[in-house]
């Protein structure tokens, strides 16, 4: 079983040198802490920044410099600020190579639900619908089951969806899955997790072929 940091670390292994990457709020943000040595990526914050750096040192916070989660941040050399129209322009044009975000549910056709729970106060989709509609590569970081123990990898999303057929890969505490036309294809198991456990906790179509390697962290 992976903890949140290990999920982030595994996703960080998907980063390639030169990539432009948008990291969502929550576990995705942690990915920045595990970027492999020698891999230079540029982090995009959709409120108008390319080249996001770490949090500022205490006392150096600047209220004019925040990320999409409204957290105070810094920039790295070569960074650039722009307005929200250009920010979503570059997202829409497919210039952001990878988007990592959380989800409440993913369906085995790649649909994602992560913005609305009927009956609860709806806060809004923010930039998530724009990101999932346009990103070339979308990795979801999430827990495999919800608090009630129900699978979040489903045949069909029960919640209102954020985007259609867009998720390419999922990393949960149980393993790594490619989302293909055949469904959730189990590629790697988290240490100490069995295929049976994944099967028990996955409601959508699960593909398990051959020996599944244990994740290398």
């Amino acid at each position: 079983m992976l903890d949140k940091n290990q999920i982030a670390k595994r996703i960080a292994q998907e980063l390639r040198d030169g990539m432009y990457v948008n990291l969502g709020i929550g576990i995705p943000t942690l990915v920045a802490n595990y970027i492999p040595a020698g891999v230079n990526v540029v982090l995009q914050s959709e409120n108008g920044l390319l080249g996001m750096g770490p949090f500022p040192f205490e006392g150096e916070e600047d209220p004019d410099l925040i990320n999409a989660g409204k957290q105070t941040i810094t920039t790295v050399p070569g960074s650039v600020f722009f307005d929200s129209a250009m920010s979503f322009g570059m997202i829409r044009a497919g210039k952001v190579d990878l988007t990592v975000l959380g989800a409440m549910e993913v369906a085995d056709n790649g649909d994602i639900a992560n913005w609305k729970i009927p009956g609860k106060m709806v806060k809004g989709m923010g930039g998530a619908m724009d990101l999932v509609a346009s990103a070339k590569n979308i990795i979801v970081a999430m827990q495999h089951v919800n608090k009630a123990g129900e699978s979040k990898l489903l045949k069909q999303c029960s919640l209102p969806i954020t985007g259609v057929g867009c998720v390419k890969k999922i990393v949960t505490e149980l393993g790594l899955f490619d989302v293909t036309e055949r469904g959730f294809e189990l590629r790697e198991l988290a240490p100490g997790v069995t295929v049976a456990e994944v099967q028990a906790k996955t409601e959508g179509r699960l593909v398990v072929e051959g020996d599944i390697p244990v994740m290398n962290l």
Binding site: G48, E61, D64, K70, T72, S84, A85, G127, S134
Partner: protein, 238 residues
């Protein structure tokens, strides 16, 4: 022609009940603090506000919500705001949630004189309900897009870092966000700036909003610039 106003009260004086306003900012970053305070003092009501967020309980647009001045919010995310939630659930407040990129681009469209734009954001979701869907072959794939209309706002109210007497504006860091598009999109655009300088002092190569889009400008005072999520790291000990 003079675009310079003495203060926020003067600049917003003719905003009437029921007006549609665009308000710049992302969260509490880059919001027109002075103008919001003046709108609260003016007690104008029945407003439709187009703004990415709705402030927090005691700051930003939250101040206008407290006074029940807002009839409708058009936003992408309405965050942590208890009063907002109460008014929404009680039916006092109408809310239209739209994707952030769609919000930004509908402002851009207005500023660029384009009545509608196409975006894939929201295709296949409830955002697409009642909207025209159109398939294009573009960028190497065939894909559905929603047609979304340009916004029309009576007033756009933005906050910039520096401005000049011609209305030219410069923003700082991520406080730029929605301000430039909204500045272009208002029938009347009001800009408040931290520093107002005479025309000719800003480098013409590095102006974000040309003054042609700005009708009124004033130098704001007492910027609070509240931080929503103060996140820091510790310095390593030597």
């Amino acid at each position: 022609m003079n675009k310079v106003y003495t203060d926020a009260a003067a600049a917003v004086a003719d905003i009437q009940d029921g007006a549609t306003l665009m308000l710049g900012g992302f969260g509490l970053c880059g919001i027109p603090e002075n103008s919001i305070a003046a709108l609260v003092a003016k007690k104008v009501t029945g407003l439709t506000c187009i703004s990415n967020n709705a402030g927090v309980d005691d700051f930003g647009i939250g101040l206008m919500l407290q006074q029940r001045q807002v009839k409708k919010m058009i936003s992408s995310y309405v965050g942590e705001n208890a009063e907002f939630e109460r008014q929404l659930l009680s039916g006092e407040l109408e809310v239209e949630l739209i994707p952030q990129g769609t919000l930004a681009t509908r402002c851009l469209a207005a500023g660029y004189g384009m009545p509608a734009i196409f975006t894939p954001a929201g295709v296949g979701t409830e955002v697409a309900q009642g909207k025209e869907v159109r398939r294009f072959e573009f960028n190497g794939e065939e894909k559905d897009y929603l047609m979304e209309y340009a916004f029309e706002a009576d007033f756009a109210i933005v906050k910039a870092w520096k401005g000049d007497t011609q209305g030219n504006l410069i923003y700082k860091d991520t406080a730029r966000n929605f301000n430039p598009m909204m500045a272009m999109a208002g029938k009347i655009t009001i800009a408040e700036v931290e520093e107002l300088v005479p025309a000719g002092e800003l480098d013409p190569n590095f102006i974000h909003t040309p003054g042609i889009y700005v009708h009124r400008i004033f130098q704001g005072v007492n910027y609070e610039k509240r931080i929503e999520q103060r996140t820091v790291r510790k310095r390593n000990a030597e």
